[in-house]
């Protein structure tokens, strides 16, 4: 199977307040045999960031987009538009792209059902789900979406993935300590390595 059919673009906030939800998405994607892709892959690059993001989106058949962070930034009192922008690029590629791009599927999350109608009403008609800021809900919905596309066989159940995720979260501070990693120093490369190996070793 081509990597396009197994790559999942993750479009979400990357701040500390979202880290448990981000980990939940990563756990669900990895456990289902798919590969997570996101803008953090290009953190160290000197290339134009938006071009790199477009390239990643082009390489992914699936997208998980979280548009729930509509709050104003505490310092600047402005909202962050990166998630709606990247969602727009993804949907644009699906609409205007090649036949391969038209196969794209997006799962869009907000905190509450129908709240998006107050700030992003033009996306009505897309598959928009509520996660209530709950990692378990997020895992269940991501797993079920990936299962419905039938790209991978014998996916573990959502409950099994949730159990593994909770065990990982419980052990994460000890794991970081063993590896002499301070929480603020953990990069995307570190975090994905920790999760990949956790799933391989502990399951």
């Amino acid at each position: 199977m081509h990597s396009y059919d197994l790559d999942v673009f993750i479009n979400c906030p990357f701040d500390d307040g979202y880290s448990e939800l981000f980990d939940a998405i990563l756990f669900a994607v990895y456990s289902c045999g798919f590969r997570p892709r996101c803008a953090l892959e290009v953190e160290d690059s000197s290339d134009i960031r938006i071009r790199k993001i477009e390239k990643i989106i082009e390489e992914c058949r699936f997208g998980i987009h979280d548009i729930s962070r509509t709050d104003l930034d505490e310092t600047n009192e402005l909202p962050r538009f990166n998630m709606p922008l990247e969602l727009g690029i993804f949907l644009g590629a699906k609409s205007f792209g090649s036949s391969k791009q038209k196969l794209k599927s997006a799962l869009i999350f907000d905190i509450e059902e129908y709240r998006y109608q107050k700030f992003l009403s033009d996306i009505s008609g897309q598959d928009i789900r509520a996660h209530s800021n709950c990692p378990k809900v997020l895992i269940r919905k991501v797993r079920n979406m990936l299962n419905s596309f039938g790209q991978a066989h014998n996916l573990p159940g959502a409950t099994s993935i949730i159990r593994s995720y909770e065990s990982f979260q419980e052990n994460l501070p000890h794991l970081r300590s063993r590896l002499a990693l301070e929480q603020e120093d953990v990069t995307y490369a570190d975090q994905t390595r920790l999760i990949e190996q956790w799933l391989k070793v502990v399951g």
């Binding site: 066989h153 490369a189 390595r193």
Partner: protein, 101 residues
């Protein structure tokens, strides 16, 4: 959760294969090679083998998967920590909670 099986040398010089939570029990073998072969058979339905050196230090962590388990796709990033060091840390953290490792 996967079954974690340890292969380690005991005080008598034999190599012991034991599952987690069963420190005092386990099959004994004259050589490490025999112990590892037995551990692989025990874990043919998937699991993790933790191979210790003669002094008890973790030497290698071998992850086994069944044919019907989705194969994990690595993230597309560079500058990564070594998988061996992360595996050893995971086994130590999980083992310390179970009283083994």
């Amino acid at each position: 959760m996967k079954k974690i099986v340890h292969i380690a040398k005991d005080k008598s010089g034999k190599w012991v294969v034991r599952a987690d939570r069963a420190k005092s029990h386990g099959s004994k073998f004259p050589t490490k090679k025999d112990a590892l072969a037995s551990a692989r058979t025990m874990s043919r339905n998937g699991g993790t083998l933790v191979v210790h050196d003669a002094k008890g230090k973790i030497q290698q962590v071998i992850t086994l998967r069944t044919a019907d388990t989705p194969r994990l796709k690595r993230a597309k990033v560079s500058h990564r920590m070594s998988a061996d060091s992360v595996n050893a840390a995971i086994v130590e953290v999980v083992g310390s909670k179970q009283g083994v490792g």
